[in-house]
């Protein structure tokens, strides 16, 4: 996952924790191994090296593709899991020069979720296209881990918190109304200006530009690329933290908000999404 991951459970039972540690780490490893773009033999790499051919997929992949399609449609093409190829033009750490528009146009021909053909059984990508579930993978893992924990923890009402690199889910069985702040998990947000939040029930996900951006000729370029133009999104917020019932949703809201650039605030307000936004 390349970021610190932890599960916190309010219990004194060591053996119970060991069992859950095993189950949750297995599930996270399973998802990572299956969809990591850094592995060379997993399902994702098979799909990405299919060179136009058809690859068999399972139900989980089918459901993830359906969800990715929903976000693609609702964001009017801004959230696109096939846009990863643009990454090669923008290193961000030591960007030497701005890429040539011609090169970007060529890359765009290999981008576009709408060009993907898939069914419940298989997928075929156009030649040269690569997909990557990085945008929703971590949040999905959080929700899957939360499901496992819920199945075991609800019996004795052991409250828990899942944190996979800043994407969180918390469950409190005793308080459905969050007045009891002493019981809540105190979560610090990366941007110190945001302070910290009391999380009792629900999911939190953050999208931010703080780590990957550069300045050239007085302009700030973020790591968020517009898949329709190939260029970075202009004036995205520094970070957006969203709250939702599930982590996948929270992550999607924050990603979509970032993609709105300078319109992030109005997007979040009009959709009535709980959030913390920092410019």
């Amino acid at each position: 996952m390349a970021s610190p991951c932890e599960v916190l459970i309010k219990t004194q039972d060591k053996i119970f924790c060991e069992k859950l540690a095993q189950l949750t780490t297995s599930e996270v490893s399973r998802i990572e191994n299956k969809y990591s773009r850094y592995k060379t033999t997993n399902l994702l790499s098979q799909i990405n090296s299919s060179n136009g051919g058809s690859i068999e997929i399972d139900n989980e992949t089918f459901q993830l593709l359906n969800y990715a399609k929903e976000i693609f449609d609702l964001s009017d093409g801004l959230f696109d899991i096939s846009s990863g190829v643009l990454g090669k033009f923008w290193t961000f750490k030591n960007q030497i020069h701005i890429p040539d528009n011609q090169d970007i146009k060529k890359a765009l021909s290999q981008i576009g979720f709408n060009k993907i053909n898939y069914t419940g059984k298989n997928i075929s990508l156009p030649k040269g296209m690569k997909i990557d579930f990085g945008g929703i993978g971590k949040e999905y893992a959080v929700d899957q881990v939360a499901k496992i924990l819920n199945a075991h923890c609800k019996i004795k009402s052991d409250n828990f918190l899942v944190n996979l690199g800043g994407d969180l889910f918390a469950k409190d069985y005793n308080n459905t109304d969050d007045e009891l702040q002493n019981e809540a998990w105190k979560v610090g947000l990366e941007n110190p200006k945001s302070g910290y939040i009391n999380l009792l029930n629900g999911a939190v996900a953050t999208s931010g530009t703080s780590q990957r951006s550069f300045i050239q000729n007085g302009k700030t370029y973020s790591h968020l690329l517009n898949p329709k133009t190939g260029w970075p999104i202009e004036n995205p917020p520094s970070s957006v933290t969203c709250f939702a019932e599930t982590c996948v949703l929270a992550g999607t809201y924050s990603s979509l908000a970032m993609l709105q650039g300078s319109d992030a605030e109005s997007f979040l307000e009009s959709e009535e999404i709980e959030h913390i936004l920092v410019r």
């Binding site: 039972d13 053996i15 119970f16 069992k19 095993q22 189950l23 297995s26 599930e27 490893s29 399973r30 191994n33 139900n59 989980e60 459901q63 993830l64 359906n66 969800y67 929903e70 976000i71 609702l74 999905y140 929700d143 899957q144 499901k147 496992i148 199945a151 075991h152 969050d178 702040q181 110190p192 200006k193 945001s194 302070g195 910290y196 939040i197 009391n198 999380l199 009792l200 029930n201 629900g202 939190v204 709250f243 939702a244 019932e245 599930t246 996948v248 949703l249 999607t252 809201y253 979509l256 959709e271 009535e272 999404i273 709980e274 913390i276």
Partner: protein
């Protein structure tokens, strides 16, 4: 720092009847994604309170002596969260030869097989080894541990062990109770074990201190048989033992653990080795006779053991020291060090060093001088003589896949028996009475 209290539940967007918002469409899509993938998660649960297996294969070989192969199969499972059941099955097979206790001579030596059926010759200048035993053994261990009650600080462990080989069988029972103190940073434990063992060697056990009858020395088979039978004792001999083990485990800090144990072991019965003899030599060092060894009928051993385990940056050091002392006057010291170095991808290297030293039993003698009176107890078994040994080993472990891992271990063992300082009889100077023993063993473990 600004404390922000956020209300985290999904606000009801049903009020917004103007359009089906992006938010609700997404919410539906997310619910669909997470519920559709439910079955895969639940499937993971089924394997959890399952069985964990491990298997081990050992190939052991001493230079010119014993070779052995051992296979272990272990199964472990958790029952009701805190109960642990462990089943272990061992099979081993030995071949080769083992020193019979007689000393090397400048002439050919002939010995009778333990059963009396047949004899074997040992060349001049070589250590007498008996290769009669080719044995296979099977062993079963069962152990069950649990807390006294779900919230208890007390944990009990019950165990049983059964072992059977051609001429020997053993059964033991053990019970241990452990209590945690100070948030389980301290654990005190007390355990008790009893065992009943039985020897039924082919040809019966020899009567200690009698002379070995050798066919060549007798005119006819019948006369030899009579002489051999006269050296025979009972067909079956029992050994009983009882042991007490007290332990104190202490967490020192986040990375360090220590354990101290005191053990008391009492063995009584037939403690003699029915296959070992002692050479009786004259003033010129020439063997005149072989007598069967004889050991006391009881042995009491005290042991003190200390262990430190420390987790360093990318490695773990495991260091232990053990001291034992018994009423046969055998004192031993053991220093054991393992250093587990973690490498990429869940693999590791673990070098191992062990030093061991023991003093001789007070009735140990390399040989018996003919002019001396035969003592009540005597044994030339190098394993209760004065000796030191060193082990050097290296282990490599790696993950085969997310559920299976394997380990390979290679160890070199060198044992150096020492002279007990008894006057060297002239004629024996050129002979090696304290041959070194070298052994190498390779072990492969598999966890699945």
């Amino acid at each position: 720092m600004q404390l922000i209290n956020k209300h985290n539940s999904l606000k009801n967007s049903a009020n917004d009847s103007k359009r089906i918002s992006l938010k609700s469409k997404l919410a539906i899509a997310a619910t669909g994604l997470l519920s559709a993938t439910a079955t895969e998660t639940i499937a993971n649960e089924a394997t959890d309170e399952g069985w964990y297996f491990s298997a081990s294969v050992l190939a052991y070989s001493e230079t010119d002596r014993v070779s052995a192969v051992e296979v272990i199969f272990n199964a472990e499972t958790t029952i009701d969260e805190t109960g642990k059941l462990n089943i272990k099955f061992v099979l081993d097979s030995l071949t080769g030869a083992s020193a019979n206790g007689a000393i090397t001579q400048n002439t050919l030596q002939t010995f009778s097989r333990p059963s009396g059926n047949g004899q074997y010759n040992i060349a001049a200048g070589t250590t007498p080894l008996d290769d009669t035993f080719k044995d296979t053994r099977a062993q079963l261990n069962l152990s069950w541990s649990n807390l006294l009650s779900p919230e208890s600080d007390y944990q009990y462990t019950l165990g049983t062990n059964i072992s059977k080989e051609y001429d020997f069988q053993s059964i033991s029972l053990s019970a241990e109770l452990a209590k945690g103190f100070n948030q389980k940073n301290t654990t005190i434990s007390g355990g008790f074990s009893v065992a009943a063992e039985e020897y039924n060697p082919k040809g019966s056990t020899p009567i200690g201190l009698t002379s070995m009858a050798i066919r060549d020395n007798y005119p006819t088979e019948d006369v030899y048989d009579l002489a051999f039978d006269a050296t025979r004792g009972s067909t079956s001999e029992a050994i009983n033992s009882a042991e007490l083990l007290l332990g104190w485990t202490q967490v020192v800090n986040r990375s360090t653990l220590m354990q101290f144990n005191y053990g008391y072991a009492d063995k009584s019965g037939y403690l003699t080795d029915p296959f070992k003899i002692v050479s009786v030599v004259n003033a010129s060092g020439i063997t005149q006779d072989y007598i069967y060894e004889n050991r006391p009928e009881s042995r009491t051993q005290h042991s003190l053991f200390g262990l430190v385990k420390k987790h360093l940056n990318e490695s773990i050091i495991d260091f232990s020291y053990r001291f034992t002392s018994d009423d046969w006057e055998i004192d031993t010291h053991t220093l054991d060090l393992h250093w587990k170095l973690f490498a990429d991808g869940g693999s590791f290297w673990e070098p191992h060093v062990r030093f061991y030293q023991q003093s001789a039993a007070d009735f140990y003698s390399t040989y018996l001088d003919q002019s001396e009176e035969v003592p009540p107890f005597i044994s030339a078994d190098y394993r209760i003589g004065e000796m030191s040994s060193i082990t050097l080993g290296l282990k490599y472990g790696f993950e085969v896949n997310k559920d299976q891992r394997a380990e390979v271990r290679l160890e070199y063992y060198r044992q150096t028996p020492k002279s007990v300082g008894t006057e060297r009889v002239a004629g024996l100077e050129n002979l090696d009475l304290y041959p070194e023993l070298d052994a190498v063993y390779l072990q492969v473990n598999y966890y699945f």
